[in-house]
Structures are given as structure tokens and as C-alpha cells.
Amino acid sequence: MERVLPPGMSAAAFDKGLVALRGVVGAEWVLDSDEDRDTYLDPYATGNAKAHAPSAAVAPANLEQVQAVMRVANAHRLPLWPISRGKNFGYGGAAPRLPGSLVLDLGRLNRVLEVNEKLGYCVIEPGVTFYDLHEHLTRAGIALEFGVPNFGWGSPVGNALDRGFSFRGDHSSSICGMEVVLPDGSVLRTGNGAMPGSAIWATARHGFGPSWDQAFVQANYGVVTKMGLWLHPVPEQVISVQVALDAQDDLGWFVDEVSPLLMRGVLGGNIAISTATNSVIDSSQRQEWYTGPGALPDSVVTRMMAERGMGWWNGTVRISGHEDSNQANLNRLLSAMGRHTRREFQVSRASGASQAARGPVVTRLKVLNWFGGRGGHVGFSPVMPASGAAVLGQFRRTKARYDEHGIDYNGTFYLNGRSVTNVNLMLINLDDADHSARTQRLFDVLVSDASAQGYAEYRTHLDYMDAVAASFDFNDHALRRFNERVKDAIDPNGILAPGRNGIWPSAWRNQRGSE
């Protein structure tokens, strides 16, 4: 991709900035060849490829270099977009919101600084991948584990900073203490880390006064260079219950029965329940099932269910803990479901250690093969209350919209206890411009349908950040105005991640809503 500069910046001014950055990190770590730039593009970009194109990337090696990069960025007014590993596929990958931003690639800060087995936490740098952490724990024989997304290529820090989750629940809620470089290049430690030599930085959350950890999540107020994360002791046993529900409406009672079990602690983490298509899209191609017009008809889904022995809804409920309490919790789950179905569910038992030994995998990326050629995906993920009626309503509305736009419906509902997160996967055929355009139209309509219900997305792609932020408009966008007042106070030159999650610094505010 040819070079795209920050809006309004001359090539000469930009190049001067690059010279200064080379002085900080060394010439080889300012990455500005065409090939370098391509590796930071959104791998699934549809439409205008330049909309989120970076101008270059800079890869500091340590905290001091991160600080110096921030100072150079201020002096030269260079917008930076920090990434940990940049594998945020489906949400923009490593690409920045504002075209022409420099990607601040933190992959070289990749040390596991501490793991405390007894107290169940680690302190890591942003470049540590899920695989690195898994290897570290396995090699050292430490009986702790952590949540890994379905696509395990990224990093615990980057994932938590975008509120990623796994069956263990929301990863941002495992954060305990951070080291952050502020936009002016100064360093802050949050929580108990503000006390030099703190013995409880990564074990006790709040410190004294306001608690700032979450202010750096889905925000653009600082670059996180260290993070404390709580890990989970490997359980004695894991029971897996394969749930398969035959009818579309079964989703309603499932939500109403299982959510109270989550709230009472009978079940932990979150419980995912997905359409049959979800199990088919990563192991077969669309043309094997259907070549007609429009979205996959329900009759085809019924054929998938019959051929693969699935229900309309399918999921694995994991019960982790000690054997005796697991059995009691299993009985509660089975009796709750037994009130609605006579189906026998497959139950398997394994030691927690054998489950923990499985490393992160990326097999889920095979969904990209669904159309045969170049594939991509976006997820539309609104959150709603944990009520069967609300969830069924959301499912029916969304599926009707997919059918209307001729896009194959693929939904997963993650039960969190009090709320349900509905991830709607839209697989995109990048070789078919019409299909990409229809997907975009569908996304737009789903955003407004959901906000009419009072539901917003938990996380979104770069393209939709402004639209989603705009739907939080109580009292004439009081929250957005507050976010931007904070932004202007700590980042007056607007150098850090302008536009992230709809937060625009005054220097770039005219870019709100830009493509």
C-alpha cells in the first residue's frame, strides 16, 4: 500500500518526524516500507482500503523508548496507534482509526515479569502472546491458567484492553494494576502500584482514591507497558456438558434457566450457545450446503443439524472445580434443563490439568474459508438483559435482518449472569463487492435496531466506533463530552489513538464520522 499521511500533514514534516523516531528506536525499528505497512492493514478491509491505512510503524524496545516516542510524537504532531500484538481481527486488526497514524507496535516489550502461583497472578508486558504465557506456565510447571479467546493468536494485554472475553468471562475484569505512559511521555502506575515497592500491586485492586485501571480500557488516555492480570488455579476436574437444543425457541428457556445458575455461582465464567451454522463454517464450505440465491434457508440448517447430529442451538457448558461440588452443580444444571427437554446431553469428565495443557489455537480462523476465496468477518455484538424474552426477541429481529440482506445468519449468545452478549458473526466474501456492501448495510441497520431496544455493542470495528459512541447520547452526549474533556486535558496535541472508541481530541475532532 502506498504511503497515507495523517490528514493535513506534509510529506516533509512527516519525514522529519520519522528521522527523530529513528534517533530513538534505531533505523530498523521504524518500519515504513510498503511491505511493512501492509502487515499493519486491516486484513479484512472492505471498501476504501485507505480509510485505516497506517503511514508507518515504530517499535520501541522498552519503557524509556516508549516515553521518548511519545515526546517525539508531540513535537512533530504525529498521531500514534498503540497495539500489543495487533491481532484484533474482525475489529480492524492492527490498523488505526485515523488514516496516516503511526502504529506504535509494542511487540518487543515481551517479558513475563512475574508469576505468583500462590496468589494467582502474573505481571506481563504487552508483547507477551497467549502462547508465550501458556509456554511460560507449562515449562515452569505452574498450575495456573487464563482465558484465551477462540482465536488465540493475540495477547492477554491487548485483548483485555479491548474487553475481550472467553468462556472464563470478561478479561478486563482480571486486570489488577498497570504501568501506563501518558501522552506527554510521563509514567503512571495505577492502584497500589502508585506506592513504590508495593507488595500488593497485582493482588488488591483499588489502592487509595479513584480506581483508574478501567479508564485505560477501550480508551486513548495512555499506553499500557505493564499489566497485572489475575490467573485461575487449575481446577481438579472439568465436566463438559454438550448442550444441543432442537428448536429456535428453546433459546428462551435456556437463558431463563441458566442465568440464575451463573448468578448463584453454580456455574462460572460465561456460557455460549450458538446456531448450528457456527460449528459448520470452520470445517466446510458454503457451496457444499447451498448454491441458491439469498441467505442459507432454514431447511439447509436443518440438514446440517441432521448430518452432524446437532441441535439448532449448541454449546458446551463447563463446570470446573472439585469433583464433589462439580457433581452437585451438574445435577442442578441437568435438572434445570430437564424441566424443558427430554434430550440426553453428552457429559464428559477430564482433569483440570489435561484441559490446561491445551495451548491457545487459531483453528477458528478457518471460518475465512467459508466462501472459498478471500474471506473476512465482522462481529456485531450487542448486550442485553439476561431474560429469555429479550434474547429471543433479539434473535428473531436479527435473523430477519440477515435474511432480508441475503447474509447467512450465525449467532452466539454468551450468558454472563445478569446480561447476555450476542455476537453475530458476519462472514464476508471479499471477492464479491456486492456481498461486502450488503454486509455493511446490514451492520448499520443492526446498530440502529439494537439502540432502539436500549442495547449497545460491547466492542466494535474501527468503522463503527463513532456510530456506536453516538448511541450513548444521554443528556446531549454528556459521556462523550466528558471523555473528550479528559482527552484534551491529558493529550492536548491529540497524538494518542485519535478516534478510538469515538473519543476525538480537539486537534482531530473534525474527523469524527470520517470514513
Binding site: Y131, W153, S283, Q285, V362, T363, L365, L368, G375
Partner: protein
Amino acid sequence: MNRRQLLLRGALLAALAPVVRASGVESVDAAGEGSSAPVLAVHDPAYRRSREFAAALQERGARVIALEPDVLAAWHQVLRAACAQSPAARITGLTTRSDFMVLSSLARSAGLSPLATRDADASGELGGVRRRATLIAWVLATRNQAA
């Protein structure tokens, strides 16, 4: 190996000739020891064509590596060390596009870039589930080899 398998392999290699040439497998000395740079042939066990491709290259002296349990593990457990040991090694494979996407990105950190690619259809079975994908044949080599 029976005659039919032999023919199938021959046809596969002919169809993917540019990739096979770029892999440098022809110049690998099957006897091994210190001759030319090693060729690592990776395959996705779910697809017969992928297995056949790797097997055919194995007969020509390539080392075969299965993407098991997946491409990420294969990189971390085998390929990364193999590349560090023989910096001139080439990696070739007939895999899904998504596995190629992941592997080519990981291999970039070892200084490897794509040298040749070609599409090929395949179907297969793994764990009792039928699988189908458009596979892609590819070679990753050091940048100076690629140039």
C-alpha cells in the same frame, strides 16, 4: 505406495510445479548431511491433497511437519526452532488460506517471505467430520532468496 497413488502425486506436483520449483526441493539431497538448505513441507492432516503434497516432497528429501494441533503450535513447537537452526531453510505447504495467513506472518519474524503461491481445491475428513476448503500452495523463503 501403489501405482494409483504414485500417479496422483505426480499429477499434484505437476499442477503445482511453480511452487515445487520455488521450494527448491529438487536440489535437496535426500541423503541429507550438509548439502543444500533444508526444505520443510507442512501439511494439514484434514486434507488428503495436503498430505499427498507433503508426502511427495518428503520423497524428494523434505522434512514433513503436520499442522497439529494447529498452525500456531506447529510454529512454536517445531518450525521456529528449525528456522533458527537453518536460517536458509524454506518452508512449503498446501494448506488453507487462513493457515497460510498465520504462518506467513509468524515466519516474517524469522525473515521469511512468500516466494510463490497457487490455489488448489481439496476435501477431506478429520475427527469424523467432512472438511472442504480451497487450499493454497506456497513457499516461504528468506528475503534474499525471494528477491
